[in-house]
């Protein structure tokens, strides 16, 4: 990855397709998308459910591999790397925020936030300090010993955001981050996400079906039936 002075990570999807095979049948989720996401951009990906927008996000975050096509981080092709190298890239360069929070059950808020740093081999004390800082910055400083089951949806999503930021990634990927929240917590979580993006200038990709949410983004792309609809 080439570094320049801007902190974010640029991502390029080059003619990617993703075809799932379910009991011998081909189910194309992405039919061929080429998309460049610039550094520091806040990109909204909108589309109805089943349009392939989440798959697009997962391909960008190396959680999944395209059936054809390539994914580049900066100038480096990354989709064909072995699982272990992709894990390291996810750990260092990507932060995920999911619709259903995906906190680890029976684990405290602070342990969740520390986890990316754990896989990076950061010392226990440094992990704790950094996690505490992040929890405070998302307004969860007083809840660090709470288990995820003891937190409301909005609070869980705040913890998840803190976890996504723990490794200081260049790319933050949010998959319907407000989808499971009531409107009040939804707007505060959204504010939080966009505020973070604005301050840190990291690249943000926000998948949503909500046009209101998309309004906050610097750019919006629409996915329909696995294809990009204008840009």
């Amino acid at each position: 990855m080439q570094e320049d002075d801007r902190p974010g990570l640029s991502v390029r999807l080059d003619a990617v397709t993703k075809i799932y095979f379910v009991s011998g049948e081909e189910l194309p989720a992405i039919r061929g998308i080429t998309l460049s996401i610039d550094k520091g951009e806040a990109l909204a990906v909108v589309g109805s459910s089943g349009s392939g927008k989440s798959t697009l996000l997962h391909l960008s975050g190396l959680l999944d591999r395209p059936t054809t096509g390539a994914v580049f981080y900066g100038d480096r092709r990354v989709d064909h790397l072995p699982a272990s190298d992709r894990a390291v890239l996810r750990n260092r360069s990507v932060g995920f925020v999911f619709q259903n929070f995906q906190l680890i059950p029976r684990t405290t808020a602070i342990e969740n936030v520390e986890m990316p740093l754990l896989y990076r081999g950061v010392s226990a004390r440094e992990r704790r300090e950094r996690a505490r800082e992040l929890l405070t910055s998302v307004g969860m400083g007083d809840r660090e010993r709470h288990f995820s089951s003891q937190l409301s949806g909005g609070q869980q999503q705040r913890v998840a955001i803190a976890r996504a930021l723990a490794a200081s990634p260049g790319l933050l990927l949010a998959d319907e981050p407000t989808g499971n929240l009531d409107s009040r917590s939804a707007s505060s979580v959204l504010e939080l996400l966009l505020g973070i993006q604005e301050r840190s200038r990291m690249t943000l990709v926000l998948v949503t079906h909500d046009a209101e949410v998309a309004r906050f983004a610097t750019r919006t792309v629409r996915v329909r039936d696995g294809l990009l609809e204008g840009s």
């Binding site: 959680l63 999944d64 894990a87 680890i104 896989y119």
Partner: protein, 402 residues
């Protein structure tokens, strides 16, 4: 190191399941250690009683005996005599001493009590041949033997049964209603390899037993002691040649006696108890193996149950090998701590067996360590497949798993 810690933490999150899972290993290790200890105890017991009989001892028994050993005293033929014993004593250079002996069962009475026991008729040199000593009093000599005197030397157990704590030397007992004067008490000798309590007997002169109680002229057995353990084989050959000559056995003919060296019996007994120990350990290993399968089962369930957790961990940067190590640590810890607990309980059980059953079970320290190590390796082996499956999960599918 951190990931090892992670695995341990997951176990603590589910303490009851962890304890129940390792219970199989606990029981497996416990049974291996205890059964091996019991086997070793059996071996020690056999060797000790053989040592008690004297390692130099040769036993000549009459009658044709199949060659599988352990039939000492079984011969019912009446071809051996006191003269044979004397000839062995005098003509076999590698025999240091020998004594004929004959036994019967009889009721023995003291003024206070009575006891059913073994009456052993022996020659005066019986004690040195058996490497046996007196606790009190004396033994009978050639005069008593020659005159078939009614004197008796009591075994430890018989003395206490008949006379309690008082000293019986000089008092009279009745054997088959004939009075015998007690002249000595034997020191305690314990069990013979054939399981007989050697303290439960009364020794009287051989001639007295033959002529006054049984009315026979043969001896049941001739015990011969070789000069030293390495002369046992020579002594055995000399006795055989001598007796064949005396009994007029033609060359190649089947002898009417059999000679067994205690060292042969010791070898056989040693081999048998080794087989016993190995067999017990094998049986116990099966339970250890079953414990390992328990771990395999629980780890598979655990991986399935935590599929989403694995997906999350992968999404935030856990490499396949991080996941592998985490689950492997869990199964290794389950089996290691289970094994450790099994080792501790096993050693406690051995101590209990020793104090409550009086079995001389040694604590097999090395074996215990080996078993605990083996259990840990077993746990890692059985944890390998579930951990591998966890590490090969697709992060995307794992995240979607409900």
């Amino acid at each position: 190191m951190l990931l090892v810690f992670l695995g341990l933490k997951a176990l603590l999150r589910n303490p009851y399941r962890s304890i129940l899972t390792s219970l199989g290993i606990v029981i497996g290790v416990l049974s291996v250690i205890v059964l091996v200890s019991i086997g070793l105890g059996a071996k020690a017991l056999v060797l000790q009683s053989i040592q008690n009989l004297g390692p130099n001892l040769l036993v000549v028994i009459p009658g044709s005996v199949t060659d599988s050993g352990a039939q000492v005293g079984g011969g019912t033929d009446t071809t051996l005599t006191v003269d044979d014993a004397q000839a062995i004593r005098e003509d076999c250079p590698d025999v240091w001493n020998a004594s004929g002996a004959l036994r019967t069962a009889a009721q023995v009475q003291s003024p206070q009590s009575n006891w059913s026991t073994v009456i052993l008729g022996a020659e005066p040199n019986y004690l040195p041949v058996r490497d046996w000593h007196l606790a009190h009093g004396g033994f009978f000599g050639p005069e008593e033997e020659a005159s078939a005197a009614r004197v008796a030397v009591l075994g430890r157990l018989v003395a206490s049964r008949l006379f309690g704590l008082s000293n019986p030397v000089g008092k009279f007992i009745q054997i088959n209603h004939s009075p015998f004067r007690v002249i000595g008490i034997l020191s305690s000798k314990g069990q013979s390899p054939m399981g007989m309590n050697q303290d439960d007997m009364v020794v009287i002169p051989l001639s007295t037993l033959q002529s006054q109680i049984m009315g026979v002229t043969y001896v049941g057995v001739i015990l011969a002691a070789a000069g030293s353990p390495d002369r046992v084989d020579d002594a055995k050959r000399e006795i055989r040649d001598l007796l064949r000559l005396r009994h007029h056995i033609p060359p190649g003919g089947r002898p009417d006696f059999d000679i067994q060296a205690l060292s042969d019996i010791a070898r056989t007994a040693n081999r048998l108890s080794l087989i016993l120990t190995v067999l017990l350990a094998l049986i116990a290993s099966i339970s250890l193996f079953v414990g390992g399968i328990g771990i395999l089962n629980i780890m598979l369930v655990s991986v399935r149950e935590r599929t989403r957790e694995i997906g999350i961990r992968m999404a935030i940067g856990a490499r396949p090998r991080d996941i592998l190590l985490q689950f492997l640590t869990e199964s290794a810890a389950l089996s290691f701590f289970g094994g450790l607990a099994g080792g501790v309980f096993g050693i406690l059980s051995i101590l209990a067996i020793r104090s409550f059953l009086g079995w001389p079970a040694p604590i097999p320290w090395e074996g215990s360590l080996l078993t605990v190590a083996g259990a840990t390796i077993l746990g890692i082996l059985f944890g390998l497949y579930p951990a591998w499956r966890a590490s090969r999960l697709d992060p995307m599918e794992a995240l979607r798993y409900e």
